[in-house]
Symmetry: C2
Subunit: 327 residues, 2 copies
């Protein structure tokens, strides 16, 4: 029997989930839940659209609800709320607030007897797994996460708020020398700013003072001031043509030692190069929905993360296929 998935929210991530479900024959998309008027929304694959107000009426028809809202305001409310009625998966990615989010969802899920999995995606998510495994194996070592090359939507938005800016796209780029040093086994102390550069593509409004815009970007606290930042002014046409995608990725490296007096060094590296940030995240959410369904069937309830899930639960393959072909 197919696992029935509801998609709660229908932006980039929701559309990615819809498409990812189609790539997994053991899953079925029941429909999309939206705050907009359902008749105004057309789905990519023709699945039904419902108002979020009707979600609770469909409890019996959905095995797992995948939440596709944002971490700033949507998920902190939606995940604990929906965990009262559904098994849920979300991609809550505000690292500093995960413990608080876990506590809220834990309470709701335990009370209702549902199963929740929070903070799935690639970071938090696949990168977190890379950090955990490498750290568990190489207990004496140091680990680094580099992000990019990829588009940071938060930084792009920050530039767009500057007076005279019509459009902007910011790429986070790992500093090549820093990656090479760590890859080679060095274990320097590096701040986020020492690990990354920021490259900005800006469309200025007609008559705007480019020099002032560049200065405002480069001196913006937190976002840019501490970083090696470059600014390129381009036309709207060039922006549309060359910077329409939302690629991202990065690399997690742990370097550690074993043996007598730490004589032997080992370097573990996990990297992602993603054409579409949202669609890859969606693919992780969908695999996690499979795991949540299985955990729930076994009677596991409460709030979980990818750290709590036996890897086999994410895969559609049987134990025999896994041990015979993948292990």
């Amino acid at each position: 029997m197919s696992i029935r998935i509801g998609i709660y929210g229908y932006g980039n991530l929701g559309r990615g989930v819809e498409l990812a479900i189609r790539q997994n024959p053991d899953l079925t998309a029941v429909g999309v839940f939206t705050r907009r008027a359902p008749e105004s929304v057309k789905t990519l694959t023709g699945i039904p659209v419902y108002s979020i107000d009707d979600a609770l009426k469909m409890q019996g028809q959905i095995d797992v609800m995948i939440l596709c809202g944002g971490s700033a305001t949507d998920l902190p409310k939606q995940t604990p709320f929906l965990a009262q009625y559904f098994n849920v998966v979300d991609s809550f990615d505000t690292h500093a607030k995960i413990l608080q989010h876990d506590e809220n969802v834990q309470k709701a899920a335990k009370k209702a007897g549902t199963t929740a999995l929070i903070s799935a995606g690639w970071d938090p998510g696949m990168f977190s797994l890379a950090r955990l495994y490498a750290g568990a194996v190489l207990s004496e070592g140091k680990e680094y996460t580099f992000w990019g090359k990829g588009v940071s939507q938060g930084h792009s938005d920050a530039i767009r708020r500057i007076d005279g800016v019509a459009d902007a796209r910011q790429y986070t780029i790992p500093v090549a020398e820093a990656i090479e040093a760590v890859r080679g086994g060095a274990t320097p102390e590096l701040t986020t700013a020492q690990k990354h550069e920021r490259e900005c593509f800006v469309v200025a409004k007609e008559g705007a003072d480019a020099a002032r815009i560049e200065r405002e970007i480069k001196t913006m606290p937190d976002y840019f001031a501490d970083y090696n930042t470059t600014v390129h002014f381009i036309s709207q046409e060039e922006m549309n043509e060359k910077h329409a995608g939302l690629p991202h990725g990065g690399v997690v490296i742990r370097s550690g030692v074993t043996g007598v007096d730490g004589a032997h060094r080992h370097v573990v590296e996990y990297s992602l190069r993603l054409d579409s940030n949202a669609e890859f995240t969606a693919s992780v959410l969908v695999a996690c929905a499979r795991a949540v369904y299985r955990l729930h069937k076994e009677g596991v309830v409460g709030c979980k993360t990818i750290f709590d899930v036996p890897p086999a639960y994410l895969s559609a393959k049987t134990r025999e296929e896994l041990l015979g072909g993948l292990l």
Copy 2:
């Protein structure tokens, strides 16, 4: 309370386990069990040495027994046998026989109510995890495992058996062009021989016919005949000086697509560069012993693999540390 570990077998892997336990304050090495006369064996860290004949007497003193024998003849017998008396972890690495090994250990462990984890290490082990996770997330894709650069002991042994060879070391080297193609998103069909080259360093006995040795190596079926193989003759001094270590490593790459008509490509890459094959494997075994102890305490019995273990069980960190710092 510290988790009490027994080390069954005291070669390179056993010594690696002994040293790895010292890097993990929540684990204690109870002692080494050897087939040799215990008084003839001196451990690196001064832990006691027992005869394997005395192992069963120590059931109450050991939480997990880590088996450090070889996959060809030791583990197929030892793991099912010891699983009758102890929780066990092994590094059984004959991929084609894992299902059979699992069946044997499963039977013994379920009957005895013990917990076993088989086939831990880096391949099978960490590489298997990389393959499983990437495949679960990118269900539409293709995956590649490249081994090396590293010493293959099996291939080195095969050369040493040739008449006139005094010593030999064989390095398995991934074909750089093949890795680059896959990394770039190409999905060619590649045999193991198309993915790897073999570089051999050989010390010939005095008066031996080097040309014949080289020919015998390059035409050896299964081991070398299908591969691009190079042979270098060197002195024993050079062998001892430059080829004493047993480094290994490799890379798992999965390339897959998502989106409308598979429009977006994603490349997941996991790589290891290991100064010491045995010590890294030992570090994985030790983390798995921690997980086995925890699973057993929860009442989970039977034969498991790393695919069945929630990642958090491998780590010494608390849930709060994991969610607050690593996720």
